[in-house]
């Protein structure tokens, strides 16, 4: 930890502290709308980080991360509704279920040498057939949806995840902060080095004694487990779950756009990407509404334009360039990720 702080430029530390401070006091100044946008940003920043572990760190492309969000959401919600198990307990079941799903995909793919695009297709396939499965699973409402009871409360109950948006904001902020700390730590351990080696060149990594199967499995399982937390949050924040929504391909794409635009493989990329995408997409929707225009799909078009712009002008994402401009790069890291 000391070494980490010593290796980070002063400006970066100050900026991080200021950012953390602003985020901590934000609910005191924000209205309900701003708060809901902030929660959404944190939600995507968190999920982007989870996805980034797999793709950004280890180079394994998942296009089906909605699978883990959905499983996490459904497992915790079902345990809560049917058995009264509180989310802080149910979450561990959700994490285990997601890890098991990730491990199943990983074993199938990595044992049989399926990589790259074909691996990505496999992740889509799993998300899709899970969606179809849940459509017919009446125990959790099938395609008609699954609803958590909403009760009016006087107090915020953090352990039961029942309360005001402000409480959900702080829960999501804590999760995002924890994910950031976890990823920072991971990248500086042997695991992080091995993941990056596999991402850069799996053959060379294996020749250096790295059990590539084991470390790729670890990346998938860690990423899936992290995503489960976002699923549990989703279930208790929105209180309704529809397989068509939560497992859909477009959800998976939304998850990965942030880190791609922000900068895959970097620590701040997923966060920057989530801010940029959510703020701009919501801004555009608001703007259109203000003008009284009703254009369906404008958000998707906007996402497409953002993708194009980043791919053409900033192929490594926004963060590496931003970090360089702000002088936030760390001296002893080769990759210009500044964090």
């Amino acid at each position: 930890m000391k070494a980490l702080i010593a290796a980070t430029p002063r400006r970066a530390l100050v900026l991080t502290a200021v950012l953390a401070g602003v985020l901590l006091v934000l609910p005191a100044f924000a209205n309900a709308y701003i708060l809901s946008v902030a929660i959404l940003i944190l939600y995507f920043a968190y999920l982007g980080q989870a996805w980034n572990v797999m793709m950004g760190f280890c180079g394994q492309l998942s296009l089906g991360h909605s699978l883990y969000v959905g499983i996490g959401a459904y497992v915790s919600a079902a345990l809560f509704v049917h058995f009264g198990i509180p989310p802080w307990l149910g979450i561990w079941a959700a994490v285990l279920a997601c890890m098991a799903a990730g491990a199943a995909i990983g074993v199938l793919a990595f044992r049989f040498g399926i990589g790259g695009v074909y691996f990505a297709l496999l992740t889509i396939a799993f998300a899709e057939f899970t969606r179809i499965g849940f459509d017919h699973l009446d125990w959790v409402g099938g395609s008609g949806g699954f609803f958590l009871p909403v009760t009016q409360r006087e107090f915020n109950d953090v352990l039961a995840l029942r309360g005001s948006p402000v409480m959900f904001y702080y829960v999501m902020l804590a999760l995002t902060g924890a994910a950031f700390a976890f990823c920072t730590w991971l990248l500086r351990t042997r695991i992080g080095y091995y993941w990056q080696a596999i991402r850069e060149d799996p053959d060379a990594a294996q020749a250096l004694g790295i059990n590539t199967f084991r470390y790729k499995m670890l990346a998938v399982v860690v990423s899936a487990g992290m995503s489960a937390f976002a699923g549990v949050f989703f279930a208790f924040y929105y209180n309704n779950l529809f397989p068509e929504q939560i497992f859909s391909m477009s959800r998976s794409i939304e998850i990965i756009l942030g880190p791609i635009i922000g900068g895959t493989g970097t620590l701040f990329g997923p966060i920057v990407g989530a801010v940029v995408l959510t703020v701009l997409a919501d801004g555009i929707t608001e703007l259109m509404a203000a003008f009284g225009w009703e254009v369906p799909g404008v958000k998707q078009v906007f996402y497409g334009i953002c993708m194009l712009a980043v791919i053409v002008f900033l192929p490594n994402g926004i963060w590496p360039t931003l970090a360089r401009r702000l002088g936030l790069e760390r001296s002893n890291r080769g990759r210009g990720d500044g964090g």
Partner: protein, 243 residues
């Protein structure tokens, strides 16, 4: 020889879609020896390496290393048994810094990144790459990438180092520097080395024994002086008329 041999390759063969790349090749490498594998293009040298390093499984034959049978093992298992290798077509971790590249190798024996970093630093100094430690590996010139390959393999602290044309593309003075590095590693640490080279300068300077491959078969073995006078070697390198 076989009794003290660190590495023993016993009549290994490998075919690719009917093309016999290596056929019934046997040789031994003694502990602390430096041995060269030479031969014209397509003679099967790299295929031999890949079988020793676990990248290919031999169709027939056995490979033993330090009393352990290693043919058919995965490359990472072969590395763990104590064999380090470089790739002919260099494979740097392009997005990582030079230092981080070597740290990955050093983590094989040291779980702590801090310890691995110090080891990696020492190896970079030994190979003259210390000043470039913070550059991304993608920014290196080809000779430096070759050095990086060697540095990374050495960081795994192997007993046997397989060098696949690690000195190709280097200038004569650079070759002499590398030769000096390998000689010191060999003398001070007892590192056993098997090298594939086209450039004869390092081969003659380093090797105690040379094996010549041609069309996948071993056609001659012996000391450098013997091998360069061997009729079969002269024939395959210079043509039958020269003999």
């Amino acid at each position: 020889m076989a009794a003290e041999g660190l590495l023993s390759v016993r009549s290994v063969s490998k075919s690719f879609r009917g093309l016999r790349a290596v056929s019934g090749v046997s040789f031994d490498v003694g502990q602390g020896h430096i041995v060269a594998l030479i031969g014209p293009n397509g003679a099967g040298k790299t295929t031999c390496f890949n079988m020793i390093a676990g990248a290919f499984e031999p169709d027939a034959g056995e490979i033993h290393f330090a009393g352990q049978r290693i043919d058919g093992m995965r490359p990472d298992q072969v590395c763990l048994s104590g064999i380090g290798r470089t790739f002919q077509l260099v494979k740097p971790f392009a997005g990582l810094s030079v230092l981080d590249n070597v740290i990955v190798g050093a983590l094989r024996r040291n779980r702590q990144v801090g310890v691995a970093r110090r080891k990696a630093q020492a190896i970079l100094e030994r190979l003259g790459l210390a000043e470039k430690r913070d550059q991304p590996a993608s920014a290196l010139t080809l000779p430096d990438r070759k050095r990086l390959e060697v540095a990374r393999a050495l960081a795994t602290e192997p007993r046997l180092l397989l060098l696949d044309e690690a000195m190709a593309g280097l200038r004569p003075t650079e070759i002499d520097q590398m030769v000096a590095v390998f000689r010191r590693l060999n003398e001070e640490h007892g590192l056993t080395i098997v090298l594939i080279e086209h450039v004869m300068r390092p081969v003659m300077a380093l090797s105690r024994e040379i094996h010549v491959l041609h069309h996948g078969e071993l056609i001659a073995s012996g000391s450098p002086d013997e091998v360069v006078r061997h009729p079969a070697v002269l024939e395959c390198y210079l043509g039958a008329e020269a003999v």
